[in-house]
């Protein structure tokens, strides 16, 4: 029992030291984003990061409109489930990793429209992101019930969380 505890302690210490050492050795390149301790991070080029986050939002846009079309016209439960699941998957994909330092400027598929303030208001942005993920998860749950009225209401709540960021952190050119 005691030895197991000790082993665990040693493992944690070693892991921590290794991480610290890697940083000390200057291993993280400018392209590497800071993820929560212990999360392995793939190296992403800034222009790829911007491209991929734009792709994520673009793909979600299709699915948002898809749900809207269904609640406004004939409701197809399967369609709505597919769309809601797609949004949920992207929402939970950890897109925060694509907001590398320095990517407040740059061009992916098009020039990024994120404001620099997005990178300096961490707490606010995190809160907005968590609210979005929560409503995206709820969207998938509601879609599974096939209730058109509830879907419409939830789509509204989900849209409002998108707007939470757009209003303050998207450049309106």
């Amino acid at each position: 029992m005691k030895s197991k505890l000790l082993l665990a302690l040693v493992t944690i210490t070693l892991a921590g030291t290794a991480a610290a050492q890697a940083e000390w050795m200057g291993l993280p390149q400018p392209h590497v984003s800071k993820a929560p301790a212990g999360t392995p991070v793939a190296r992403v080029k800034p222009e790829d990061a911007i491209k991929w986050r734009q792709s994520g939002y673009g793909f979600m846009a299709w699915n948002m409109v898809r749900i809207k079309t269904n609640v406004e016209g004939t409701y197809n439960k399967e369609e709505v489930i597919k769309a809601a699941n797609a949004i949920q998957a992207i929402a939970n994909s950890g897109m925060g990793a694509l907001y590398l330092p320095g990517t407040d400027k740059g061009t992916g598929w098009e020039k990024t429209r994120v404001k620099p303030e997005f990178f300096t208001n961490r707490d606010w942005v995190n809160k907005a992101a968590l609210a979005f993920i929560k409503e995206a998860n709820e969207m998938a749950k509601v879609a599974a019930t096939g209730d058109a009225a509830a879907t419409k209401e939830q789509l509204g709540k989900l849209s409002a969380t998108c707007k939470g960021c757009h209003d303050d952190f998207k450049i309106k050119d």
Partner: protein
Amino acid sequence: MNQEKFRLWDLPTRLFHWALVVAVVAAIVSGQLGGNLIDWHGRIGLFIVGLLAFRMVWGVVGSTYARFLQFLPTPGKISAYLRGEWHGEGHNPLGALSVFALLALLTAQAGSGLFANDDITFVGPLFDLVGKSLSNRLTGIHYLVANAIYVLIALHIAAIALYGHVRKQKLVKPMLTGWKDGEGESATGGGALALVLALAVAGAAVYGASGAWLPAPPPAVETPNW
């Protein structure tokens, strides 16, 4: 005791004014909250297009004090007013500036909104005419003009309060009842025919703004089933 009063604002002008107040407040609230209310924001915008079109026509064919030429704020009139030498009725020259500024800004606001998008699910009814990148520009303008409108609304209300307290001029009551106490010439003109004309133009404007005349989207086609 002076019991005299005269007809200042005709009924269509007053209805326009208060409908615009309600619609602008509703547009601000629905625009700020977003979510499902964004669809209402769009509908309210179309209603405001109709109100503005109505007022443009009424400013030409309406009754005396509703006419643009009657209160056109020329530099001469403005300087006379600032020297305290202006003695007219209806919109005073400074108020007239505010009226024209509000009408212009609200027109820009409703107009840009018709082409705007929110990058979520909403697009203005005429979005397809301009495409995404121009729509983004117009959306940016929509946000900017909103701020200018807040400033003008604040000025408008502050001016009413100021005239009420300092100058003892009640501006709200005539806008409610149409009558103003004191001596003055009652408004004339703006009959039924003028009203029909203004309403017809307003209706046409809403129809044009609604995009109902745009070609229908292409019908659904067969796509791979995966």
